[in-house]
Structures are given as C-alpha cells and as structure tokens.
C-alpha cells in the first residue's frame, strides 16, 4: 500500500514558491478582500478575532522558541528535535486523558515529566557520548533524533489526528463581538506562568545563574566548579519539558498528529531567529508576532498562504536585520533577561 502523505515542510515550501510567483494574483485578492468590506464594527471584531487566533498560535511558537534558545545558549546548536517534543507532549496527553481517563492536572504533570525524561535521554545517549562534538555534527544528530521520534510516534499513535477535550469548557466566550475559547485563556496564562518561572529560574536560583555563566563563558564556568556537561543535560531537560507543555496546551485546539513536529519546529525556530537567537524575551515577542501575522494573513488573504506569509515576513526582516528584531548589540544586555 502506498500512502500519499502531506509533508508539512514540503507543503509550506511549495506555498512559499507559489506565493512568490503569483504575487500579482495575491495582490488582487488582498485588494478585493479589503475593499469588499465596509469598515464597520464587524471589521473590528474580525481583527480582534484574528488577533486571538494569532496570539494563541503565537504562544506555542514562543514556547518552542524558548526551547531552541535554551539549548542554543548551552551548546551553540539548534535542536531540530524541538518540534517533536511538542508533538510527543500532545500525543501523550491525548492518551493519558482520553484513553486512560486521568484527570487533566495529573496527566499534565506525567506528560511533562515523561517528555523531560526523553530530553534527558536524548542528551545522555546521543549528544553526550560524541567524542569530538562540533556544532555541525551535533545538529545532524538532532535531525536524526527528530526522525527517530517521529517514526516512533507514528508506530505508537498511528497517522490519524488525535482529539483531546478542552481543559475547561469548550464553549466560546463573547468579547467585543469576537469569540474566545477558554482554552486560549489557558494557553496565554500558562505562557505567562512559564515566562515568570523562566525569569525567576535564571535570575534568582543558583542553578539558573550557573547555566547563564556556562552559556557566557564555558571555561571560566568550569573553573568556578560548574559541571558543564550537567548544564547541557539540564538545558535539554528544560527545553523538552517546555516543548511538552506547548504540545499539551495546543492539542485541544489543533488536534495533534505525529507529523506536526517539523512545521511547529520551523515556526518556533523562526520565532527564535526573529527575536535574536539566544534571546528568550525577544523570542516570546517574535513568536506572538508571527502567530498574529499568520492569523491576519489567513483571515484577509487566504488560509492557504498562511504559513508562507509568516515565513516571507521572517525572511524580509532578516534581510534588513540579520541579527533579528532584538538581537542588536544594545539588546545584548537584555539577552539573559
């Protein structure tokens, strides 16, 4: 039997090309969409609606981006398995809540712990044993790990999309003419909670300070008695845990399947680059920005072009500011929060 499957990466690349070649068509469509509507109250509530959608997706990109940054800061590599942490988090949560019928808080904790262990195992068995770790070698290893995790996810959970019940009610709330899902509020709340935890961890705990020290100057950190290998392991653990949380909170809305990791990873990576690689505060802003732009693009242009438009904007910004929006030397101070 032959499966014809949609690979999200190829799809988005394809759309990217299409949107470049068919720009005149696209422009016409934009004009039609904008002029076809009177500027009424409904337009405003539309915009509000798209903003909600965008912020909700953007939070997930922001969480993925924080994960990228943590590992980048500790090792200088991009972990391409970051998207798979998100997927495993989502799928595991589906199994625990829908099949095993565990209460959501318990399933949340178990899933996060499980994926954190996957992150630790990844570092211990694939990154740590490398004799001469060069950046390129390690990055290729992360690609291999992402393929392995994706394959394993397909074996365990199959190719279907999985549904999960919302954290609280699935009924929409009315907000100035726009509707908002309670799940969206959960997502925003959890993002804010994680950001607060992140700031606390890196500024007010000794372990966090040691991780920062290790990122800034590894030799001096070792001299101060910091076990740099342990810090690398910790960065994998934390970024896997954060990835899992992203997967858990988004699954009720987008329905998770095994192949979503690549696209989530690319958007998260985009957010990390746009925010200035290594700068997590920038990544959060950039993540939400990408999500909102995407949602506006989907609403006013076409949902087909949604992914492409976010990535085109990313490219345009990088042509002008290669260091990302917040990656300037001035923002270096902001870098570690």
């Amino acid at each position: 039997m032959i499966w014809i499957q949609h690979d999200p990466v190829i799809d988005s690349g394809h759309i990217l090309l299409k949107s470049l070649f068919f720009y005149p068509v696209l422009k016409k469509q934009i004009r039609k969409n904008i002029t076809g509507r009177a500027m009424t109250e409904s337009t405003i509530s539309d915009i509000l609606q798209f903003m909600f959608m965008g912020i909700q997706r953007g939070c997930i990109y922001a969480l993925a981006a924080i994960g990228f940054n943590m590992i980048y800061n500790a090792t200088g590599i991009i972990n391409f398995a970051q998207g798979e942490f998100v997927v495993i988090g989502g799928l595991m949560m589906v199994t625990l809540t829908m099949t095993w019928n565990l209460p959501i808080p318990l399933a949340f904790l178990l899933t996060t712990a499980f994926v954190t262990l996957i992150g630790i195992a990844m570092e211990r068995f694939t990154i740590n044993p490398v004799k001469h770790p060069t950046v390129l070698r390690l990055i290729i290893i992360t690609i291999a790990v992402s393929i392995i995790i994706k394959g394993a996810a397909m074996c365990f959970w199959g190719k279907n999309s999985h549904f999960m019940r919302h954290f609280s009610s699935a009924e929409t709330l009315d907000f100035y003419g726009a509707t908002i899902l309670p799940q969206t509020i959960w997502i925003i709340g959890i993002l804010l909670f994680i950001v607060a935890g992140y700031i606390f961890f890196f500024n007010y705990t000794m372990t966090g300070k040691c991780m920062r020290a290790c990122a800034i100057n590894r030799d001096a950190a070792r001299l101060a008695g910091i076990n740099d290998r342990k810090m690398v392991m910790l960065s994998f653990a934390l970024s896997a845990g954060i990835g899992a949380i992203a997967g858990i909170i988004i699954t009720p809305i987008i329905q998770m399947d095994y192949a979503r990791g690549a696209l989530l990873g690319i958007k998260g990576f985009g957010a990390a680059v746009l925010g200035g690689l290594g700068n997590s505060m920038g990544a959060i802003i950039a993540g939400v920005l990408i999500g909102v732009l995407e949602a506006l693009a989907a609403g006013y242009i076409s949902s087909h072009y949604m992914d492409a438009i976010a990535l085109i904007i990313l490219l345009l910004v990088l042509f002008v500011r290669p260091s990302g929006l917040f990656g300037s030397s001035e923002a270096m101070r902001l870098k570690e929060f």
Partner: protein, 253 residues
C-alpha cells in the same frame, strides 16, 4: 619543615611533535608564594592548564595533597580547592559583578545545587547566604561599589580583581594567577602585589606566572624558571637572579 601542597612528577605534554612541557618535576610549598617565570612560550600557561584539568598530560603525575589529579575534570579539580585566573580575563560579561562571584561561590553552598533549585523556601535562604558571602569577597577586593554593574563594563584592572574575587569565592587552598599584572599600570600593579600578599596571609598557597620581575622578586618566597618546558633554576628570588642559566635564558648568548 615545609610541606608540599602540590607536586609535579616528570610531567610531560606534547602537541604533535612539539614538547611544551618536558619532564618537569616541581613542588610547591604550602602557604608560600611561588612564581613560575620564563621567556614567552616556555610552557608556563600549559603547566597551569595541565594542573587545572584543561589539558591532559601526556605522561607524568600531578599530586595535590597526595591525591592524583591526572584524569580529573576541571570542575572536580575546582571543587577540591584549586582556584585559577586566566591570562586573558574571563569574566561572565553580561552578568553583574555580584552574580559573577556568586557563581564562584555555588560549590560551597550547603545543600546540593540541584536540590536548592527545586525546594524554593530552602533556596531563598541559601541564595541569601551565598549573596552575603559574595559581597564580603567584593569588599575584600574593593569592588563592592560595582556590585550591580555588568562585569563586562568594568575597566580591565577591575575585571582582573573580579576574576580573583570569583576564584577566592571558591575558598581555594591553592590559587593560580596567570599574569595578574599584565595590562595594569604601575599603581595598579602595586595594589595587585599587596593583594597577593593579603591572599597569602589568608593561608592560601599562591602560584604566580608573571613577567613583571619587580613584582615577582618582591612578593615571591620561591621562584622557578622554566625554558622550553624544562626547569632550569629554582630557589629564592636572590638565588635565581644570580643564576647564570637564568641570565642566559633571558638575555641569550
């Protein structure tokens, strides 16, 4: 009778065909200031790197208080009480001065570092203790007014002081200083000399690599001269200054 705190036994390090340290045997007396001098490229910094675990010796033995250091990692060696500064200042530039010293202090915190981060109430107390003892170190080196300034914005002389403060936070019994006076002006060098004597009076054994001969001869109890990785002379500052081999190595024939 002096006791040895550190003993190098036929220590050798080669990089390809280059012999950087050539069967060097040397011992360091407890509580003294020992200077390692020699022309550029003589292998002094390599010796430091071997002892602190940044390089692995090709052969030979390093004994610290009768424990062999040969295959230990830098962070383990640091935990055993060997502190060090670098020739090129290495501070955590975008952390504050105080945070730099706190990081150096973390090993001496009471609870394990990992557990202190998952148990919030304990951690608050622990963090406070580390903070206050870090402040003491800063005061000792006269850096207390810069506590909340990013370390990278300090002038070089103060960054060097900060590096020493961070090394002292580890509560070392043996401290390696790699060219502490390089890049300092005459007045700052005098301050550095006084500081090294103060460190000695805290019962810390100091090993110094330095090119400023005035400083070396002034504060050292013992001087060891290395050339091409080999020990060519050893003794008190006066003995070494009069040694013909040393004059030869420095001035050429």
């Amino acid at each position: 009778m002096q006791t040895n705190i550190l003993k190098l036994d036929c220590l050798r390090k080669t990089f390809g065909g280059v012999v950087a340290v050539d069967d060097l045997s040397l011992s360091f007396n407890k509580g003294e200031v020992t200077s390692l001098i020699g022309p550029n490229g003589a292998g002094k910094t390599t010796v430091f790197n071997l002892i602190t675990g940044f390089l692995k010796p090709t052969s030979g033995k390093i004994n610290f208080n009768d424990t062999e250091l040969n295959h230990k990692k830098p962070h383990v060696i640091a935990a055993m009480g060997i502190g060090r500064t670098f020739q090129n200042v290495q501070v955590f530039s975008n952390m504050t001065v105080l945070e730099n010293v706190m990081v150096g202090r973390h090993l001496r915190s009471r609870s394990g570092m990992f557990f202190s981060s998952i148990l919030p109430p304990m951690l608050r107390g622990e963090e406070k203790r580390i903070r206050s003892s870090a402040k003491e170190r800063l005061a000792l080196l006269g850096l207390d007014q810069y506590a909340d300034v990013p370390a990278g914005s300090l002038p070089l002389g103060n960054q060097r002081m900060l590096e020493i403060a961070r090394a002292l936070a580890l509560e070392p019994t043996l401290l390696f200083l790699d060219e502490p006076a390089s890049g300092l002006n005459a007045r700052e060098t005098v301050v550095m000399g006084r500081l090294i004597q103060k460190i000695k009076s805290m019962n810390i054994t100091v090993v110094l690599v330095e090119h400023d001969m005035e400083l070396v001869m002034d504060i050292s109890d013992k001087v060891a001269v290395i050339n091409f990785g080999k020990l060519i002379a050893e003794g008190t500052p006066n003995e070494v200054q009069l040694n013909p081999d040393v004059i030869n190595a420095y001035l050429g024939t």
